[in-house]
Symmetry: C2
Subunit: 204 residues, 2 copies
Amino acid sequence: MNDMSSSTTAGQERKAPGRPRNAQADETILDAVLGLLSDGQSAASISIEAVAAKAGVGKATIYRRWPNKEALLIDAVRSMKGPLPEPAGRSVREDLIALINANRTPRAQRYSTVTACLLPELFRDTELARMYQDFVEPRREVTRQVLRRGIATGELRADLDIELTQLMLSAPGMIQSMLRLSTSMPEERFAETLVDAVLRGAAA
Amino acid sequence: MNDMSSSTTAGQERKAPGRPRNAQADETILDAVLGLLSDGQSAASISIEAVAAKAGVGKATIYRRWPNKEALLIDAVRSMKGPLPEPAGRSVREDLIALINANRTPRAQRYSTVTACLLPELFRDTELARMYQDFVEPRREVTRQVLRRGIATGELRADLDIELTQLMLSAPGMIQSMLRLSTSMPEERFAETLVDAVLRGAAA
């Protein structure tokens, strides 16, 4: 777990002083994983050997950083997403837009098929499923907190279904990315347009 | 194409007189495809040989019905979904609920990971992508028509974003099924609850 969080920090702040070579190697390895997955390889079929070959490093380099394939896969997904923004708390609308945009980084767009490639494996590999859950659940919880706050402040309906609203905010972007659907709006307006469409329903 | 549509009809009305044995064989073969995909096999890794072995039929039996693997994969997806209902036209709400429920058949729920397994292959196999598009596009168009009608009748906002609304109606169910997320509502209320949440925003 220390390995994972340190590699993530390195991946997100790769110019941080102290371990520039490690950060570079981490990123190369994570890119190799994402590349294999987005080429349509199933998570099950990806081996540490294949990742090492694609990244141009030795297997030992990978095992020094990640204890197993599951940890490597989850860290690759983690590296696609930006760090979750701390909700500013000024308005529910603004916070929800920021939370959606936090999942739509250029890296996430580039590897948009990765999540879909990983899904089937989540149902076969309980350890991977547990780690994926540990990764996404805190992110979902931030959105839930914003929605609960909106109910408390009167910005949102008192009878709002939190889980369904969360799904309405997250699923369209996931499906649009996975299926590479074109939309009528430019990417930079996607989150705002979606939040406004949801809020017109959710706003009290 | 004749093969595909006749097999679909047979799959949906498998007690239709005239070709009960063919219909049974079709369903066994399509079940084998869905079983392999939902076990987490990638579309790329599935061979006609593997399908034949799992279905307990000869390869020739499959090739007599489907010209290639792409046609077989798409027909398997088609067999998961119910036939699209003809919108009754009484209310947008009622029609949208029926359209969502048409995608949430027990068979579709049972093989909920299949679509995710197929997605990566759509970006590598242009023939598969074209056939998938030919399958889903008419289904999307029915929803668009209902939304356009709702704008015309005044049930929906005049400035409604048709594509985004379509995504808001389809994506939550897809993600919920793919990730097997639990929701606070029972399955039979999912479509209705979602449509009401969307309409509170979309309704004029």
